[in-house]
Point group: C2
Chain length 224, copies 2
């Protein structure tokens, strides 16, 4: 039986080429799972930290759960300059350019053309797609009428500081389904699975478990 493919993307991606992240070893390549029978999964990351790209705990949790699910993972990232590079000791950009992203442009955001292409091609081929944190906005932007979650729709005293994102998702023509941080929403028709992750201010293990729920559902949709 041919391996089924899935896409799991972490956080929002900006604007032109896509490159696999190569191993930089003599040790295990990025400590990803060794090839073995299972779902073949493309993990799409961007940047290298919560303020200029993929949140590290989210990336690690995705890889832990894909490993547990027996997936064969290949990691990809846009091979382009970042919008800005953040000094993680200060939490501030250490240089700046302008590039179109949701964080800057809201519902008028543009999506990296290769990310848009891959999402549309996976969707057209009925391959499952998993997205966490702010990344569900990508699906809302490029897959009309898709159902996604970025968590709750009210701030609830700071627990959901980015709750306004749900309205932006609706404005993009998608359906927002409120979910808790340890849950994943499954759009069965579109095979799109989403989880809030760090859209919620909560303890790290809840983020880990929510991403686990997302990965499990993606692999189930792969028939794994």
């Amino acid at each position: 039986m041919a391996a089924v493919r899935a896409l799991v993307a972490s956080r929002l991606l900006a604007s032109s080429a896509f490159a696999p992240l190569h191993a930089c070893t003599p040790r295990a390549p990025l400590h990803s799972s060794a090839p073995r029978p299972g779902a073949r999964v493309a993990l799409v990351l961007s940047g290298c930290g919560v303020y200029d790209g993929t949140e590290l705990h989210e990336a690690s949790a995705v890889l832990v759960h894909l490993s547990r699910g027996g997936a064969e993972v290949q990691i990809f990232a846009p091979d382009i300059p970042q919008m800005h590079v953040v000094d993680h000791a200060k939490g501030q950009p250490s240089e700046s350019e302008t590039r179109s992203t949701f964080a800057v442009d809201g519902k008028d955001c543009k999506v990296h053309e290769d990310v848009e292409r891959v999402l549309k091609e996976f969707h057209k081929a009925s391959k499952p797609i998993g997205l966490c944190c702010i990344a569900p906005v990508l699906a809302a932007r490029v897959l009309r009428g898709v159902e996604v979650t970025v968590g709750h729709e009210q701030e609830e005293g700071g627990k959901w500081p980015y709750a306004g994102t749900a309205e932006a998702i609706k404005a993009l023509g998608a359906k927002h389904c409120a979910k808790g941080v340890t849950e994943a929403h499954v759009d069965q028709k579109n095979k799109v699975v989403t989880t809030p992750a760090f859209m919620c201010e909560t303890e790290l293990h809840h983020i880990h478990d929510g991403i686990g729920a997302m990965v499990k559902k993606v692999l189930e949709l792969c028939g794994k």
Copy 2:
């Protein structure tokens, strides 16, 4: 009841000042657990990646499991230049100096003086100490007769590529106890808990689970 303190250290540390890693937010401080009743844990990291410091998946796994165990975590790191800075795209040092570490000097390694002080002070005060991957060498170097594990003592076809470390641990006067990657060894007398983590070439979820076992035992020794 006064909170009990534990120390969890990840990977080997080099040679002079110790500084808490400050939050760089407006978001949750390093996504660590929010303060709440539970064990008070100092997490000691160094550098920022597998070739020049703490392995990221190990650091994330420690924080996930401490969060699940309800610990209150503060993160520390030596506030000194690294031995070398690694270009993680190439897996090679991008500059070099010399500084004494186990990776370079084996059993004749020197231990960062504040790390040695903290380990000895925690030990003297009967506070539990957790160490993963190569970090158990630190305990072997500074706590005479301690029992630790860095995994198996034979390479077993590449599964334990750093198996020779066990001999170095014995040469330092410590006892090496062979353990599997998902296990933790508990030295009850010294309250030192160790797990092999990435001393083993295996799937990521096994590393995650082994670190979970270490954290659980450390928190149990705290009476949590």
